[in-house]
């Protein structure tokens, strides 16, 4: 206990709080799903074929004596889970933990936070994706943010895009200012995924995106090492 009597919120929690506030104003609900996920939701229903390299042991945590279950490798399974239980218009974000079986370093952690976004309705297109992301980044980085797309590929979207952003404004730290930064993958939800979730892809379409919250936090607060987040070290946390 210190003199002020005030403790400190973890920066990731603060960021998730802020993300939720911004997206709530744009009509997005906060959705969740299990971390220990079936291969069906984590891969199959998202159009990831059985023999896809992402399903290899070296990338994914499988569970001993529980075949068919993994620690979710992304927050995307929540897309299908939510669509199964709700009718369009669908607008959700899912900030949550995901896991990759990899060695840790200053930019990689075996457990990390992802922000999933999904908007599905009649006529939701990539222009809406651009609009939503611009508004989100403008509010989060409190400046003028430009967003651009480059071609990319993820099995659960088509077309798939890589999203870069550029923040301008005098108060923006020099390290970030006026530079294009690769920030996330996104795209129009693949019609197979819409169908897998029980909706008619002829009628409904929309976009999905996924980005690292850890990475957003690194950029937003100028943090130098992703491993601080799980360090439980107040020399880090009490700075926020």
């Amino acid at each position: 206990m210190n003199e002020s009597g005030q403790g400190h919120l973890h920066p990731i929690s603060s960021l998730i709080r802020e993300i939720n506030q911004i997206f709530f104003r744009m009509g997005f609900a906060f959705a969740e799903g299990p971390l220990l996920e079936s291969e069906k939701y984590n891969f199959d229903l998202l159009n990831v074929p059985k023999d896809h390299p992402a399903r290899d042991m070296q990338d994914t945590f499988f569970i001993e004596n529980e075949p068919g279950f993994v620690l979710r490798t992304h927050t995307s399974p929540v897309q299908v889970r939510y669509m199964e239980g709700h009718k369009p218009p669908i607008r959700i974000i899912c900030p949550g933990k995901a896991f990759r079986n990899e060695a840790t370093d200053i930019t990689h952690e075996a457990e990390f936070f992802q922000l999933e976004g999904l908007m599905v309705d009649e006529g939701v297109h990539l222009g809406h994706l651009k609009g939503v992301l611009e508004q989100f980044f403008n509010e989060l980085f409190k400046g003028q943010v430009d967003v651009r797309f480059r071609p990319s590929f993820f099995p659960f979207v088509e077309p798939g895009v890589e999203v870069d952003m550029r923040i301008s404004g005098e108060h923006v730290p020099a390290k970030l200012r006026d530079r294009w930064i690769e920030i996330m993958g996104a795209g129009e939800v693949h019609p197979d995924v819409i169908r897998n979730a029980g909706l008619d892809p002829k009628k409904f379409q929309g976009f999905a995106f996924g980005m690292g919250i850890d990475r957003l936090a690194l950029l937003r607060y100028g943090i130098d090492d992703i491993r601080h987040f799980h360090s439980a070290d107040l020399r880090f946390i009490n700075q926020f």
Partner: protein, 631 residues
């Protein structure tokens, strides 16, 4: 994939734009460029070919084709344009495939009288630019054609394959348990029953690991004159498994893993035979083509309104037609829909959305407008769990608690993960309290550095216990006899939010509780409370060096300002003094006693006694000069 600029230039009559311009064009319309390297007067682009285009773009032809479409240019020649005719057919080699589901096609080309020798300079240059070593004209020709068209090829020395009655026999089959083969890298590989091999059927000996690497038993040497060239199509998943379990990844296996069209084998064979004849002479004996189930021709269609519906663009039929023409697709217009014949190598083009992706990336993603989402008539649902989590966080931080996240991986538990990197913690945790305890103690050691009397922490996180996956709230304190129990705060927050009180809360320093049961009977929230978020906070790297603590206490006149004295002490104590804190103060008659705690720490080294004593001397001198009486 490494792509040579000079090699690409061979595909165009007009000079290509500079490598920088070309890189930008590729980046924004097709693939990311990971870097450009100058190699012996060539420039080599590292193109990050996307997984769905690795069927057709792990080749110079594939990249050249993309460039032609992006820049709206014609390819001066296209190795996949003119269908080669493999004649004559020969019966000197018999091909049999034990498992056609793993080998869609096997073409053997037989040549005799070739002269093995060094490759010409231009060929060495091309291969060396992309990091390949020149071996000899035959092997180099097979490699060149692979990097040019994407079709892996292999040449065997025919004389080393057993002949009977004027025939040689090649069989594609599973390896046998215990079968071994020395590959061209001179290493012996132990094969298993799930691996596909190319075998000399009459000798019943493996001469190649299908799609991965050729073997020494039928390898090309300086003495080779008669060859059998393989241009085949192997199942991607099978090649990937074999190459992974042998830890042998080759340029051929990478291409098969990504799945290539069996039609490509024909073009690969056509090109390599031409090239070998040019480089090494010899004559063609003939070909055998085992292709039981030829690839079907597919059609895919999209209209301009499909593109606009998916991308939010406003392209016209004229735009559509112009772009389709750049791709050189065979196109038929049916109503407002353009139906294209899918080029055999484009295994990614299957549905309307795939074609829309092609049209829109060439049209330009920068032309996608930014459209705000339409307003919905109702507010979104409020997530009850997150609502309470967020408010609990707010209440606990207001009560002096800091929030931590600790790893879900631990040393013991009910569930273990398989194959974890750094496997000292393979279990998923059942509890949070052990890691919270650890965090409390660790941070308590730093209490002076942190300016804390005791440590108070909480974590809200997932565990996997008896009830399966569950979210726990853990609250804990650690410190001295005055430090309240963590459980007192849990009771406090239950009261604050009028939560369902579990029958009895035991009085313990650390307590954990199931979050969902805690909030089960709490009222459903109608909207979120806009709780404060961090402003322009910037993280400052902190020192991991040891720190030292010194106290100083003295008498001062009662009217003294403790805060300005604190600032003065900090200044006198110098750069290594990172904090000064008043920890005791009392008055006796007309004097006050002030006690300050100073913390010393350097960023880059352990401070010595001299460093600290020197700093304290300055502090004492200053205090004495003020007329204060040091206690």
């Amino acid at each position: 994939m490494k792509v040579s600029y000079k090699w690409l230039q061979k595909y165009f009559d007009e000079p290509l734009p500079s490598v920088e311009e070309l890189s930008d064009a590729i980046t924004f319309h097709a693939f990311e460029i990971d870097g450009v390297e100058d190699i012996n007067g060539d420039q080599v682009l590292d193109v990050k070919v996307l997984p769905d285009r690795s069927h057709d773009c792990l080749s110079h032809r594939g990249i050249a084709k993309e460039i032609a479409v992006i820049l709206d240019r014609k390819l001066s020649s296209d190795p996949l344009q003119l269908k080669p005719i493999l004649e004559p057919i020969t019966d000197t080699v018999v091909i049999s495939i034990e498992n056609p589901e793993l080998c869609n096609r096997y073409i053997a080309g037989v040549m005799k009288g070739v002269k093995v020798g060094p490759s010409p300079e231009w060929l060495k240059e091309r291969l060396e630019a992309i990091g390949q070593r020149s071996i000899n004209n035959i092997v180099d020709a097979t490699n060149f054609v692979m990097f040019n068209s994407g079709q892996p090829l292999h040449a065997f020395d025919a004389s080393k394959i057993k002949e009977e009655n004027g025939k040689r026999s090649i069989r594609v089959r599973y390896a046998r348990e215990g079968e071994k083969m020395i590959a061209l890298d001179q290493k012996e590989y132990a094969l298993t029953e799930t691996m596909l091999v190319i075998s000399d059927h009459l000798k019943d000996e493996a001469i190649g690991i299908a799609g991965v690497k050729g073997g020494v038993p039928a390898s090309i040497t300086q003495e080779t004159t008669d060859i059998i060239i393989e241009s085949a199509n192997f199942n991607g998943a099978s090649v990937r498994r074999t190459s992974a379990s042998l830890k042998l990844r080759t340029d051929a296996s990478v291409r098969y893993e990504n799945v290539i069209s069996p039609d490509l084998a024909l073009y690969g064979m056509g090109s390599v035979v031409d090239m070998i004849q040019n480089l090494a002479g010899g004559e063609i004996v003939g070909f055998v083509d085992e292709y039981p189930k030829p690839q079907a021709t597919l059609h895919v269609g999209a209209s301009a309104s499909d593109v606009n519906r998916i991308c939010g663009t406003s392209i016209t039929d004229a735009d559509m037609e112009a772009i389709l023409k750049r791709f050189n697709f065979e196109t038929i217009k049916e109503g407002d829909r353009y139906s294209i014949e899918v080029p055999f190598e484009r295994l990614d083009l299957r549905i309307t959305e795939d074609l829309v992706a092609d049209i829109s990336r060439i049209y330009g993603y920068d032309l996608i407008p930014s459209v705000p989402p339409p307003q919905l008539p109702t507010l979104p649902e409020v997530n009850k769990r997150f609502y309470y989590i967020d408010r609990i966080r707010g209440w606990l931080t207001a009560n002096g608690f800091s929030e931590v996240y600790t790893s879900v991986f631990t040393v013991a538990g009910k569930r273990a993960v398989l194959n974890k990197v750094a496997s000292d913690t393979p279990y998923l945790r059942c509890d949070i309290w052990p890691s919270l305890q650890e965090a409390l103690e660790m941070n308590f050691k730093n209490r002076d550095l942190l300016g804390l009397e005791d440590t108070r922490l909480f974590e809200i996180g997932t565990v996997w216990g008896d009830k399966g996956e569950q979210i726990l709230l853990a609250v804990g304190t650690f410190g001295n006899k005055n430090t309240p129990m963590g459980s007192e705060f849990l009771s406090g927050l239950i009261k604050e939010f009028d939560l369902n009180v579990p029958s009895d809360i035991p009085k313990t320093p650390i307590i954990q509780i199931d979050l969902d049961s805690l909030i089960a009977h709490a009222p459903d929230p109608l909207s979120y409370q806009d709780l404060p978020t961090l402003g322009d906070v910037r993280y400052k790297p902190f020192s991991r060096q040891p720190f030292a603590v010194r106290d100083v206490a003295f008498w001062a006149p009662e009217e003294s300002d403790a805060l300005s004295i604190q600032e003065a002490i900090k200044k006198e104590a110098g750069e290594y003094c990172i904090s000064v804190r008043l920890f005791d103060r009392f008055q006796k008659e007309d004097r006050i006693s002030l006690a300050y705690r100073l913390v010393f720490q350097a960023m880059d080294r352990t401070l010595t006694e001299e460093d600290i004593n020197g700093a304290m001397e300055k502090v004492y001198l200053y205090l004495k000069a003020q007329g204060f009486e040091i206690r």
